[in-house]
C-alpha cells in the first residue's frame, strides 16, 4: 500500500515537473499572480477606479497581440484582443476566449471604453468596424448582412439596404487591401458612409 502511495506521488510530481518544463514566459505571469493573490481588495478597488486610472500606456493583463505586443486602449481589432498563449503545451488548448476579454476594458463598473461603445455616432461606428472587420468585409462583398444593418444603426443611416449596396459598389475603395490595419479600415468605412449624402447617415456628421 505504501509503495503504491509513493508511486502515485512520484508520478504526479513527475507530471508537474514535466509540464512546467513546457511552459514558457511563466515568470512575468507568476509575478502577477502572487501580486493579485496578496491584494484581492486592491484589485476590486482598481476595477472601480478603472475609468479614471487607465492611461494610454497601461496594458491589459494577459492580453497580447499576435505580434507579441501588448494591447492598449487604442485599438479594438479582434486580433489585438484575443489572448495569445505562447506556451507550446497550451497551443493544444486554443485561446481561452471564454474568459474575460480584459476586465480593465470591459469591467462592469469601468465605464465606457472605446471598444464597448454601442451608443451610435462616429466613434462607436469606427469601433464596431474595427472589431467586426472580417465579418463586415464579407457582408459588404455580398451587399447585405447583419453587420451592415448594425453599422447602419450606429451611423443613423436611413436605409441599411442602401448602405449595403453603396459599400459593395465601393468595395475596393473602402477595403483597399488586406494589410490595412483594423483602425484604418474603421476610418475608411466611416468616411465612405459620411461622404455619400444619399445614405443620410445623420449620426456620423
Amino acid at each position: 500500500m505504501r509503495t503504491l502511495h509513493v508511486r502515485w506521488s512520484v508520478l504526479i510530481c513527475g507530471l508537474l515537473l514535466a509540464s512546467s518544463g513546457f511552459a514558457q514566459d511563466e515568470e512575468s505571469k507568476e509575478g502577477e499572480t502572487a501580486e493579485e493573490a496578496a491584494e484581492p481588495a486592491a484589485e476590486g478597488e482598481a476595477a472601480a477606479e478603472g475609468e479614471a486610472k487607465v492611461s494610454d500606456d497601461e496594458l491589459v493583463k494577459g492580453m497580447k497581440t499576435n505580434t507579441g505586443r501588448g494591447y492598449g486602449p487604442a485599438g479594438c481589432g479582434l486580433g489585438s484582443l484575443i489572448f495569445e498563449p505562447n506556451s507550446g503545451f497550451t497551443q493544444i488548448f486554443a485561446a481561452t476566449t471564454n474568459g474575460t476579454f480584459g476586465s480593465q476594458t470591459f469591467g462592469i463598473s469601468s465605464g465606457t471604453s472605446n471598444c464597448a461603445d454601442t451608443g451610435g455616432g462616429s466613434a462607436s461606428a469606427k469601433s464596431f468596424v474595427e472589431t467586426n472587420r472580417t465579418a463586415l468585409a464579407k457582408d459588404v462583398a455580398r451587399g447585405q448582412g447583419e453587420t451592415i444593418e448594425s453599422l447602419s444603426r450606429l451611423g443613423g443611416c436611413a436605409d441599411a439596404r442602401a448602405v449595403g449596396a453603396s459599400l459593395q459598389r465601393n468595395f475596393d475603395k473602402v477595403f483597399p487591401s488586406a494589410a490595412m490595419s483594423d483602425s484604418e479600415v474603421g476610418s475608411s468605412v466611416v468616411d465612405a458612409l459620411r461622404s455619400d449624402a444619399t445614405l443620410a447617415c445623420n449620426s456620423l456628421i
Binding site: 508511486r7 502515485w8 508520478l11 509540464s19 512546467s20 513546457f22 511552459a23 507568476e30 502577477e32 496578496a38 484581492p40 481588495a41 484589485e43 476590486g44 478597488e45 472601480a48 493583463k61 499576435n66 481589432g77 479582434l78 486580433g79 484582443l81 484575443i82 506556451s87 497550451t90 493544444i92 488548448f93 486554443a94 485561446a95 481561452t96 476566449t97 471564454n98 474568459g99 474575460t100 476579454f101 476586465s103 470591459f106 462592469i108 463598473s109 465605464g111 465606457t112 471598444c115 464597448a116 454601442t118 472589431t131 472580417t134 468585409a137 464579407k138 459588404v140 462583398a141 455580398r142 451587399g143 444593418e149 459593395q168 468595395f171 475596393d172 477595403f175 488586406a178 490595412m180 490595419s181
Partner: protein
C-alpha cells in the same frame, strides 16, 4: 447544495486567501469611517462661516436647516436609519431568501458564507459570514457620508438592487433621508438600456477545456426606438463571467481551475464580440433563449449586475463557473424564479439551461445562430458536385476560373460559399492582416463585390435535434446482468456523472463528441461471490472531425483512469491507464455512420503488472484504435471499437480488446443497452436497463 459545496465552503473558510480578504476589508472599513467623520465636521463649520458673512444670510438661514436635516451623519438621518435597522431586525429581513440571493450566501458545513470572495461587495467587516451584520451595515452605509476615495462608489450607488429591495420592504422616507446622485450607474443603465434578457448558450468546444462543456452568458437586449425597427442583437450587451487565467501551464491550469484558484469576475462586452469569438473564431453555434421577465425584473437584474461589478469570486470549474453565476443574477431578478435548488454537482452549462427551462414559461423564444462552419455546410448543400469542386479551388486560388456559361446567380452562390470556407478554415490567420490567408480572402472578397449582385439572406432552419435542451440528462446509470466466459454470470452497475459518449442517443449533443466524466463500472460475480471494480476514470474524451476535402482537422482521444486488464501480462488485474492519440475520421449520411482510425499510445501502471517494461510495473503500448458508430435513428445507436497494441520488450508482445454496444432510448431519458466485450482472456455480454438523470 450537496457535499461538494460544503467541502468548498469549508475550504474557503480556512483558506489563507479568505483570511487575507477579511483582514483587508476590515482595515479599509475602519479607515473609511474615520476619514469621513472628520470631513463632515469641516463642512458644517464652513456653512456656519458663510452665514456669518451676511451676503448669503437668507439663503443660508433657509437652506441650512434643511441641508443639515438631510445631511448624512446628521442626527435626524441617524435616528431614521436606526429606526430602519430595528424594523429590519423585527421583520428578520436578513433571513429572507431574497437577501441571501442578493448576497450570494450559502449554508455550508461551517455555517453561512457568501460565495463572493473579495472586492467591495460587503459593507460589514464580517459581511461575508454574517447576513444580519451585513444588512445593518448596508442600511447604515446607504445614508452614511460614504467613502472618501472618489474611485470607490458610495454604497447608495454601489448596491442599487439591495437598495430597491430594502426600500420595498422598509419604505425609505426620502423626505428625511438623503439620496446620492449615481452618475456611473445611470450611465451604465443608459448604455445597456434593456427591454428583455436572453440566456445565451455556446455549444461544446473540445479544443479548449474551459469550453468542453459549453458556455453560457446573459445578453441584455436593447429597447427598440419603435416596434417596426428590427432587433440589432449585435449591438446588445453581453454579461459574461469568466476566470482570469494567469498561467499557460496546462497542469496548473487544470489544478487552479478545479481548486478555485483563479479569480472570476463579470464583464460587460458588446454581443458582437461574442458572436465573432464563438461563431467565427471557434466555429461554435449560439443558442439564444429569450426570457420572459417583467420590466421590473429586468431592472432588478441590471441593478444586481452592477453590484456584481464590485465582486470577485473564486472560479470553480465544476461548480461556481460561468453558467452558475448567470443563474445567480436571474434569481435576484425575481423571487418567483427557482434555479439553484435544481442544480447538482458538477454544474454544467446544460444543467443551468435545464434549470431555466424547468421554470414554466420562463423561456419566451429560442433563436439559433449557426457558426460559420455550419453556414458553409449549408451553402455547400445547395451546390452540385462540379460547383463544390470549384469552391474548393476558389479556396486555394481566388482567381480560379469559373465556367463561362455559369449564370451570375451560380457564380454568386459559389463565391459566397468559398468566402465562408476561407472564413472558418483560416479563422486564426485572418486575425492577422499581414497573413497569406488575409491576402487570399481579400482577393476573393473583391471578386465577389465586383459581381455587383446582392446575396439573398441565408435562412437556416433551427435544427431541433441540436437544441441543447433536447438532449438526455448528463448522468447515466446502467443496471443489468451479464455473462462472462471466464467468471460466469454477474450483476452489473455502471454510473457516469457526465456527460455524453458516442454510445448514447445523440439529440442535443454534437454527434462527433464523447466526454465521459467520472464513469465507474462495477460487477458482482454471482458464482464467485465477488464484487469487482471494472473501471473508474477521471475523464475520457473523443473528438471526431469527419474529414472531407474542405476540412482535414485531426480527430483525437484522451483517457485518464484505471481499469481491469485482461490478458497474459496482467490477467484480471486492476491498473492505472493513461492513453491518448489522434487520427482521422469520416462520416456519411449526415453522420449517421461515423468511423475513425486513431493511433493510440497507452501507458499502464501502478498495478500488479507482470512482464512490464524492464522490471517496472509499467506497460507501454502503441497501436491502432478503430471505431464505428451507426445511428439509424436519433434514439437508436450502435457502436463498435477495436484496439490492437504492440508492447515492445514486454510480455505479451501483442494485446487487443474489442467492444460493441447497442442502445435504444425507448422513452426520453430511459433506454435499454446491450454491451459485448472481448479480450484475450475471455468475452462477456451484458444487458442493462439505462436511466439518464
Amino acid at each position: 447544495m450537496q457535499l461538494g459545496a460544503q467541502l468548498r465552503a469549508a475550504a474557503r473558510f480556512v483558506s489563507p486567501l479568505s483570511f487575507l480578504c477579511r483582514r483587508a476589508l476590515a482595515l479599509t472599513g475602519i479607515a473609511a469611517r474615520g476619514i469621513a467623520a472628520r470631513g463632515i465636521a469641516t463642512q458644517v463649520t464652513a456653512a456656519k462661516l458663510a452665514a456669518a458673512l451676511g451676503l448669503h444670510i437668507a439663503a443660508a438661514v433657509l437652506a441650512a436647516p434643511d441641508a443639515l436635516a438631510a445631511e448624512p451623519g446628521s442626527p435626524a438621518v441617524t435616528a431614521e436609519v436606526e429606526r430602519l435597522v430595528s424594523r429590519a431586525r423585527e421583520k428578520r429581513l436578513a433571513e429572507r431568501p431574497m437577501w441571501w440571493r442578493l448576497l450570494h450566501y450559502r449554508s455550508g458545513l461551517f455555517g453561512v458564507a457568501s460565495e463572493v470572495d473579495a472586492g467591495h461587495f460587503f459593507n460589514a467587516p464580517d459581511g461575508k459570514a454574517e447576513p444580519e451584520a451585513e444588512l445593518e451595515a448596508t442600511l447604515r452605509g446607504f445614508f452614511s457620508p460614504g467613502p472618501s476615495d472618489d474611485g470607490i462608489q458610495h454604497p447608495f450607488c454601489r448596491f442599487p438592487a439591495r437598495l430597491a429591495w430594502l426600500n420595498a420592504e422598509l419604505g425609505f422616507d426620502f423626505g428625511v433621508l438623503p439620496r446620492q446622485p449615481c452618475p456611473r450607474f445611470e450611465e451604465f443603465k443608459a448604455r445597456v438600456d434593456p427591454e428583455s434578457i436572453s440566456l445565451i448558450f455556446s455549444s461544446y468546444f473540445l479544443n479548449n477545456p474551459a469550453s468542453a462543456f459549453g458556455h453560457t452568458l446573459l445578453r441584455l437586449n436593447k429597447k427598440r426606438a419603435s416596434d417596426d425597427e428590427s432587433r440589432q442583437a449585435l449591438l446588445d450587451h453581453g454579461i459574461n463571467f469568466g476566470a482570469n487565467v494567469d498561467t499557460g501551464n496546462a497542469v496548473l491550469y487544470a489544478l487552479k481551475g478545479l481548486a478555485g484558484m483563479f479569480a472570476g469576475e463579470f464583464t460587460n462586452v458588446p454581443y458582437y464580440f461574442k458572436v465573432r469569438e464563438y461563431n467565427d473564431f471557434e466555429s461554435r453555434d449560439l443558442w439564444e433563449f429569450e426570457l420572459e421577465l417583467s420590466p421590473r425584473e429586468v431592472d432588478m437584474a441590471v441593478a444586481h449586475i452592477w453590484e456584481l461589478g464590485s465582486a470577485l469570486f473564486a472560479y470553480y470549474y465544476l461548480s461556481e463557473n460561468c453558467s452558475y453565476q448567470m443563474l445567480g443574477i436571474l434569481e435576484v431578478a425575481s423571487p418567483r424564479i427557482d434555479l439553484m435548488t435544481k442544480l447538482g454537482w458538477p454544474v454544467l452549462p446544460v444543467d443551468t439551461l435545464r434549470a431555466v427551462a424547468d421554470n414554466r414559461g420562463l423561456i419566451r423564444t429560442i433563436t439559433y445562430r449557426p457558426s460559420t462552419r455550419v453556414q458553409f455546410r449549408h451553402r455547400l448543400a445547395d451546390l452540385d458536385a462540379n460547383e463544390a469542386e470549384l469552391v474548393f479551388r476558389l479556396g486555394e486560388d481566388p482567381d480560379a476560373l469559373l465556367p463561362r456559361g455559369a449564370s451570375v446567380e451560380r457564380q454568386m452562390a459559389m463565391l459566397d460559399t468559398a468566402l465562408d470556407l476561407v472564413a472558418f478554415r483560416s479563422a486564426k490567420e485572418l486575425l492577422d492582416p499581414a497573413s497569406e490567408a488575409s491576402e487570399r480572402s481579400q482577393r476573393l472578397l473583391s471578386r465577389r463585390a465586383r459581381l455587383g449582385v446582392i446575396s439573398p439572406r441565408l435562412e437556416i432552419p433551427i435544427p431541433a435535434l441540436e437544441n441543447p435542451l433536447s438532449g438526455h440528462e448528463r448522468a447515466r446509470l446502467d443496471l443489468g446482468e451479464g455473462y462472462s466466459t471466464r467468471s460466469g454470470f454477474f450483476h452489473a452497475l455502471d454510473l457516469r456523472l457526465a456527460l455524453h459518449d458516442w454510445s448514447d442517443p445523440s439529440a442535443g449533443y454534437p454527434e462527433t463528441l464523447s466526454i465521459s466524466f467520472l464513469p465507474i463500472r462495477l460487477r458482482h460475480y454471482i458464482e464467485r461471490q465477488r464484487l469487482q471494480l471494472e473501471q473508474v476514470s477521471l475523464i475520457a474524451i473523443t473528438s471526431l472531425v469527419p474529414m472531407d476535402v474542405f476540412d482535414q482537422s485531426i480527430s483525437w482521444h484522451a483517457h485518464v483512469g484505471a481499469e481491469r486488464i485482461r490478458d497474459d501480462g496482467c490477467d484480471d488485474c486492476f491498473a492505472g491507464v493513461i492513453e491518448a492519440g489522434g487520427g482521422v475520421a469520416g462520416g456519411v449520411l449526415d453522420n449517421g455512420l461515423l468511423a475513425y482510425l486513431n493511433f493510440n499510445t497507452a501507458l499502464v501502471g501502478l498495478g500488479p503488472i507482470e512482464g512490464g517494461l524492464g522490471d517496472l510495473p509499467l506497460r507501454i503500448g502503441i497501436g491502432p484504435r478503430a471505431g464505428l458508430r451507426l445511428r439509424p435513428a436519433p434514439t437508436l445507436v450502435g457502436t463498435l471499437r477495436g484496439d490492437l497494441q504492440y508492447l515492445p520488450a514486454q510480455t505479451p508482445t501483442f494485446t487487443w480488446a474489442a467492444s460493441a454496444t447497442l442502445r435504444w432510448m425507448y422513452r426520453h431519458d430511459f433506454a435499454l443497452s446491450l454491451e459485448a466485450q472481448a479480450h484475450p482472456s475471455g468475452e462477456s455480454l451484458q444487458a442493462a436497463s439505462t436511466v439518464y438523470f
